[in-house]
Subunit: 231 residues, 2 copies
Amino acid sequence: METSKKACNCIDCGFRAAVFENLIDSEIDIICLSKKEVGFNKGDVIVSKGQEVDEFLYLKSGLVKLFEPDAKGKEHIIRIAKPLDFVSLLSVFSETHYNFSITALNETVVCYIDLNSIKELIKSNGKFGLKLMEKMSNNFDKIIKANININSKQLRGRIAYILIFFADEIYNSSIFELPISRKEIAQLINMTTENVIRIFSEFRKDEIIKINGKVIEIINKEMLEKISKHG
Amino acid sequence: METSKKACNCIDCGFRAAVFENLIDSEIDIICLSKKEVGFNKGDVIVSKGQEVDEFLYLKSGLVKLFEPDAKGKEHIIRIAKPLDFVSLLSVFSETHYNFSITALNETVVCYIDLNSIKELIKSNGKFGLKLMEKMSNNFDKIIKANININSKQLRGRIAYILIFFADEIYNSSIFELPISRKEIAQLINMTTENVIRIFSEFRKDEIIKINGKVIEIINKEMLEKISKHG
DNA sequence: CGCGGCTTTGATGTTCATCAAGTAAAGTGG
DNA sequence: CCACTTTACTTGATGAACATCAAAGCCGCG
């Protein structure tokens, strides 16, 4: 984990286009003064459940997982987040402490902004606040939809769904390297590790996918989509 | 469904304390001008999926369900909402059309506020926006937590969980009349109607609850909590 | 009064978690 | 760098949990 405080480069940050578009340069400067970019490696903990929320953070590059243990200590992955997903948005405005954890799945860069600066901006620039709300709403909609999707399918459908998710939403490619383990896939779509592996193998035998360790290639997308839809 | 446009009574509306506290009287007046209260009866459709979002709405009294069909047309209940839950907050700021439906479970009163008035208020009064964000965050946190809870339990645990939910969160009483059918409970906690009924019967035989149609009395709360926790 | 939806119980079979056991891969300390 | 430990992956066998199917009673409503 490396920290860097550069001269202000927020003005042309990709995020400005997405959310900070309504901030004028002088407001961007306020953010710049307090912002901090931190790099993480695969497996590094970015946020630990229970930790105090005193900064607003978002993913600049890389991939992370949000997760939470259930009453029995088993972890559930709430969501895989990629850049432009405001990862700390879930509880940043409602709680004083995080109620989930975040770890890096990749080399990632996270941008930290002082929470009070953001709150001041919301108070002084309503358009900015509105944009932030849209982003929040959007994020939650996606999580809820994904949940309904997964809960309405049986195991083969869930695996098909998650493979399509990685191919279409994360990598834009029919061949990709899974950023998570079989166990984590199980935690993400609510099944056991053994069955994740079993169904991977079935799909391989049925020539729907090719498997090479963590590298997956989808060779029959239509079939996968049919399985995902049919459940 | 009856509509009424009264003289402004927003100033002492219960909601003001919860969310509109940061609005000064003149701002409340803006809301009052556009607001409309509408009564619904059990079963009435309040919002239909696909409908345009042009008003901000919240529950003044009563009980509603938010639901959405999955790919196969089976309905999933996202949440049961009670007063002070901002029911339209889910997609009101991210989408131009609702992506779920809402129906009344009770006699309910819904307050409609012109969406643009709200948006203007957010822009002009940042504190108000911030408060609204907190509310949104909070709502989603609850939905996500409930989901993890339900997904980590087996059927008896889910039934226990939902009975405790109604007793503690909705009615504050160990005896209450279920506002939804067995089928809807199934849609809420992801199981079949038959199994909802079967487990109700088991709990009755085990003298954990008494059942009289839709009226449920919890007679062994500790046991119920143990079942809910243990899964 | 009869029809459709809700409720209930039982029987049956499928889906899935669990257990077990072994291989491969990856990290750890001497 | 190699032995050692741990963690990830894989497959099979078994039984439990659950959905599905079936049939009948109940209730509200036109």
